[in-house]
């Protein structure tokens, strides 16, 4: 990982700031003059991971570019809760067109900036997992294939939350949604479906791909900074828990995100030109139950008789990630 951990401080680099850290060791979020690109008064639910992830990412991008950022937003929670006409929470130039065309619109905005000679202006396209992995996927793949100068950020809350929690191709197996009910022989979302867009992005051989989590702010900021420092198509996939859709307590958003990472279910890695260049090694590995249990979307796994086969199958996914991405402490693959 490109992040340098600080050792032997009260909290090391785990907290957002810490008075004992030097200025350059603190995060953008610790700065009293952070841009708050997504301002107060937005209508996201209590404890919204997406609102938090969006501010983390865009504030970091603003700092990296000297506030020269424009954003194109796909339809979804982020668009709806931030910008109900005529109000907006965005403190940056911001554009919304359709659900599925954010990548294409962003490609156009980047072309327009180039034509106008505004080389310093950086374009970000952003959307939820529905707008990215399903509906906007064609436009996204096209943007990657043309290597357009855009950073695309996907805030992954693992379903269509804005319209009432319907399954997307980012919904994990066994999760209950409005369209994968917890009924029948195999309740919840089926195994063996869905897609891993970070790996698909890597297959396009674009300059930079990374996954990040709201539970690891430093890692997230370092990745956004890295992405802003290079040209061409870049993709960052940020895991953002949704208290409403996942059935978790609003106060637990970061804890749940952390458990997703530490269980191995959401691996943090980065890749350049199609090759993995870094990964976050688990600090305190936990069994998947610890991640699943606090979420009502997995409650059917923990009934009177726990569904041990399904839990074991989810654990196998985590174990595979740990092997595949070299997440165990000290592993080098």
């Amino acid at each position: 990982m490109s992040m340098q951990p600080v050792k032997f401080y009260q909290t090391g680099t785990f907290t957002v700031g810490n008075r004992l850290l030097g200025g350059h060791q603190r995060t953008v979020q610790a700065n009293m003059r952070r841009t708050n690109s997504l301002n107060s008064g937005h209508r996201a639910c209590q404890g919204c991971g997406e609102a938090l992830g969006a501010r983390y990412a865009i504030d970091a991008a603003m700092q990296a570019t000297g506030n020269q950022v424009m954003a194109v937003n796909a339809t979804g929670c982020l668009e709806v809760f931030s910008t109900p006409y005529p109000e907006t929470s965005w403190q940056i130039p911001w554009l919304h067109s359709l659900f599925g065309n954010a990548a294409a619109v962003a490609s156009g905005v980047a072309a327009a900036m180039r034509v106008k000679g505004k080389r310093g202006v950086k374009v970000i396209a952003q959307g939820g997992d529905g707008g990215t992995t399903d509906i906007g996927f064609g436009c996204l793949s096209g943007m990657f294939e043309r290597n357009d100068d855009v950073l695309y950020i996907c805030y992954d809350n693992e379903a269509y939350m804005n319209t009432g929690v319907q399954r997307s191709s980012a919904t994990p197996p066994a999760a209950r949604t409005a369209t994968t009910m917890a009924v029948g022989e195999h309740p919840g979302n089926v195994f063996g479906t869905g897609k891993n867009v970070p790996l698909i992005a890597m297959a396009h051989q674009i300059p930079y791909v990374a996954t990040a989590s709201v539970a690891n702010l430093r890692d997230l900021e370092v990745k956004v900074m890295r992405a802003m420092s290079i040209g061409g198509s870049r993709y960052i996939h940020i895991h953002v828990p949704c208290p409403l859709g996942w059935g978790s307590a609003p106060a637990d958003t970061i804890r749940i995100a952390r458990l997703a990472v530490e269980s191995g279910l959401f691996p943090l890695f980065e890749a350049e030109d199609g090759e993995i260049t870094g990964r976050y090694q688990l600090r305190r590995r936990v069994p998947v139950e610890e991640y699943l249990k606090p979420q009502r979307r997995f409650a059917h796994l923990f009934g009177k008789v726990p569904d041990v086969h399904t839990i074991a199958a989810i654990q196998a996914i985590a174990d595979r990630n740990v092997r595949r991405f070299g997440l165990a402490t000290g592993s080098t693959s």
Binding site: F8, R19, N39, T253
Partner: protein
């Protein structure tokens, strides 16, 4: 011009939307009592001084420390640090080595010649302190800070009380003790050595004192009846340890038996070893688990080759032959004789069976309550006679240096209030910051720093200090292991994790405040606060 719908309004800011109205619970910043502070018998604000030590401000840290305890170099060496037993970090990995940092700060003070401050202007009142032990010195110091004229009468030839005449040099080097005492005397406190007080009322009257604090300690060794021939050498631990501070070093012989199971028994056995005894054995009638001595001190003694005979009593002594009887524990855990006897050969028997207080100076004082050889005091540390306060080993309480220092402070504050015609009211205590209130994910993994230990050969033959101190780099590291339980240390987590930007950062040293106009009450700030300094309070609707 008629515009189509949806572009008729200019863009507005979402700041118009006060999402604070959604809230059921509101986050509130709190300060909780750190468990270390709660456990400290001297009432030190440990977390408070560690806070400054963490950023390398050692002088400021020392100043914070001595607000409650004037003897850090000494305390860092001899205190049994109940703070570290209470430390939440002990549950996480290992407790912060508070005593080692305290000792480091105390040694820095000696190195740089830091001096005490006097907080109040002269009160015109004069207070007598009887006894220059930890309690008397602490009271004198605090009274001087509060502006009173203080005189100490000490019966012994040197100041320090049991710190000098009870604690061996290898645990407390005398230059450390002398420096700490001198710094207190430099505040303008008069010390009269070799001045025994026989009648406190007469002494007070003669000296024109407005109040007195008595802390004469417990220097009278307890005896037990062991049938013995006149030729047998039987000494008591108090006089052996006291003799070490005078020119007449005690002659103990080659084989020494110590009878008792307290820290004094260990001290005297280790002293005997250093004086050249080839065998030093402790005889104790109970088990290791029941021994009142601290286990780490026992371990140090065992390392040095001290032998211990558990579950034995000495029944008879004839010249150099000691008869011991084996004991067993009954169902209540009390030792009972078995009738099985054994013999040990030794030259000297040293009794370490505890100490009593010489209360003769109070004989003529009316209205006192005496309880098992100690003077009863009320919660203000005042005896039954108005204006006479007491503390340390002579009042009913645990007998440690730290408790004595705490008594001195408490008594000084009460004497001050009494002299000014009021009553001292301690501030109400905050709720203790329990381990389960912390979010320990955020604390970096950092094991305790190990203090250097003197090599075993030199521990057998010399009185050099056994435990070494920390240097600047590892003292800083150790201070920074503090979790700051229950009190904000400005890690910026709440400011960072709020999805609604409803936490306002006020700048270095000023902490944070909530913007309740936008706080939705999700509770993420409270959940992610490492030290438990935020609590959620239900809104009243």
């Amino acid at each position: 011009m008629k515009k189509p719908f949806a572009i008729t309004l200019d863009p507005g800011s979402s700041l118009a939307n006060h999402t604070g109205s959604w809230r059921n619970d509101r986050p509130v910043y709190v300060d909780r009592l750190p468990p270390c502070n709660n456990a400290c018998p001297a009432g030190e604000d440990i977390q408070g001084w560690l806070y400054y030590a963490e950023s390398g401000e050692y002088h400021r840290a020392w100043q914070e420390l001595v607000k409650n305890n004037p003897l850090p170099a000494l305390m860092g060496r001899v205190c049994y640090h109940p703070c570290e037993n209470a430390c939440n970090r002990g549950t996480l990995d290992e407790a912060v080595s508070i005593h080692a940092v305290e000792r480091f700060l105390g040694d820095e003070a000696r190195k740089h010649g830091w001096k005490f401050e006097i907080d109040e202007s002269p009160s015109g009142k004069s207070v007598l302190v009887v006894g220059a032990g930890p309690s008397g010195l602490s009271a004198a110091y605090h009274l001087a800070r509060l502006g009173h004229q203080v005189t100490i009468y000490e019966a012994g030839p040197l100041a320090g009380g049991m710190m000098r005449f009870g604690i061996p040099k290898y645990r407390l080097p005398r230059d450390v003790l002398d420096a700490e005492v001198q710094r207190i005397l430099d505040m303008g406190i008069a010390l009269k050595l070799n001045t025994r007080v026989d009648n406190i009322l007469d002494t007070m009257k003669a000296g024109g004192f407005d109040a007195a604090f008595l802390a004469v300690g417990a220097h009278v060794a307890k005896r037990t009846d062991i049938p013995a021939r006149d030729a047998t050498r039987i000494l008591d631990a108090v006089s052996v340890l006291r003799g070490m501070e005078t020119d007449a070093k005690p002659q103990l012989g080659r084989r020494v038996v110590v009878y008792g199971g307290g820290n004094t028994a260990l001290d005297v056995a280790r002293t005997a070893k250093r004086l050249g005894a080839s065998e030093a054995m402790i005889v104790y009638r109970r088990t290791r688990e029941q021994m009142p001595a601290h286990d780490f001190e026992l371990q140090e003694a065992l390392d040095e080759g001290i032998m211990v005979k558990w579950l034995n009593t000495i029944t008879r002594v004839e010249d150099t032959t000691f008869t011991v009887e084996k004991m067993v524990l009954d169902a209540q855990g009390f030792p009972q004789p078995t009738g099985e006897f054994d013999t040990i050969e030794a030259d000297t028997l040293i009794l370490a069976l505890g100490q009593d207080v010489d209360l003769s100076l109070l004989d003529k004082v009316p209205g006192l309550a005496i309880d098992k050889g100690t003077v009863k005091v009320d919660r203000n540390m005042m005896t039954g006679y108005a204006g006479i306060f007491a503390g340390g080993d002579m009042v009913p309480s645990e007998r440690t240096v730290t408790v004595a220092v705490g008594h001195g402070k408490k008594a000084a504050r009460n004497i001050d209030a009494w002299l000014r015609g009021g009553a001292y009211e301690a501030q109400p205590k905050h709720e203790v910051a329990r381990y389960d209130l912390l979010n320990t994910w955020y604390y970096a993994d950092a094991p305790q720093t190990v203090q250097p230990v003197l090599d075993i050969l030199r521990r057998q033959s010399t009185f050099d200090e056994v435990l070494g101190g920390l240097d600047e780099s590892n003292a800083l590291f150790e201070a920074r292991r503090c979790l700051s339980c229950g009190n904000c240390f400005e890690c910026d987590n709440c400011y960072g994790v709020c999805p609604d930007n409803a936490v306002v950062k006020l700048g270095p040293g000023k902490r944070f405040e909530f913007n309740y106009d936008y706080c939705k009450g999700c509770g993420m700030c409270a959940a992610e606060c490492p030290c438990g300094a935020i609590t959620m309070v239900p809104e009243t609707i």
